[in-house]
Point group: C2
Chain length 167, copies 2
């Protein structure tokens, strides 16, 4: 009996483990999927948002990075993809005057496709929340909320990110 | 005469251009060189230093990124290389509660080689200042200054960077 229980437990643990390892990320309600390998993309900029106490890092795909480094960012080229990761700010345990990323909040993407996303300035928007990467929005209309918030940067192709200066 | 002047001017411009394109970065006084392609490395973390008003992004080579993502960071493995880029903080022109990177200040590296850098906790340190990437330090002893500043994180293998949480 004990042996059976052990086998059953091990079996469950294996299932849990493989479910976790292969956990697919659900697409956003507008069909956008989280790009493969975005964590390995080069950095384009970073931000500290004082209004919601978050640190953010913006990375980009090859098209985005090339545009950023050659200053061809208004408009950004078709095929540009940004991923913006956000963390709650926290004080560095060994340097009290440094704020560092704490809890992971979300990852957001912007995808430039002027034809497909005509209604939202040529950009597809999506957001995944928390470590479980839960897609944001009840239905596809959530993108209007994103687009509304990006109006202050209409003259910068609706993009808040200003690529950081590099040598 | 006019033609000669034009040719001479064009010649000078060409030289200036190619000098700029190929501008080699001088090694640090301890012989460390700025790693090729560091701008394309994945992000490991970011910081906002309130004591000197800088935003920083820390990227790492393959060894560093693998260690960061698997939690094998104390000690960091031999061959780990970090590059930390720093910018003066500035207010986002369209979002006054966001601080974003302004003027590029410097890039610093840490290279883990316990044998070679025994005197400084197993780490080789170097810094290049400004857009001209001027090596920091009058002679190789500058690394003692870096090492002294890293004492508060002696129990973290002398590394301030805590890898950000990722889904």
């Amino acid at each position: 009996m004990k042996k059976l229980f052990l086998i059953a437990t091990l079996g469950m643990l294996c299932c849990l483990h493989s479910a976790n390892a292969a956990a697919p990320v659900a697409p956003a309600p507008n069909g956008l999927t989280l790009p493969e390998g975005y964590k390995d993309w080069p950095v384009i900029s970073s931000t500290h948002r004082l209004d919601n106490q978050t640190l953010r890092v913006i990375v980009g795909n090859k098209t985005a990075v090339e545009a950023a480094r050659t200053g061809k960012t208004n408009p950004w080229p078709e095929g540009t993809v940004f991923a913006k990761m956000a963390w709650k700010e926290t004080v560095h345990p060994a340097w009290e005057k440094a704020l560092v990323p704490g809890e992971f909040i979300q990852v957001e993407i912007m995808v430039k496709d002027s034809g497909k996303y005509k209604e939202t300035g040529g950009w597809g928007f999506a957001r995944w929340k928390g470590l479980t990467l839960k897609p944001y929005g009840a239905d596809a209309s959530f993108a209007q909320e994103c687009f509304a918030c990006h109006q202050p940067v209409k003259d910068k192709d609706y993009v808040f990110t200003r690529p950081h200066q590099l040598p």
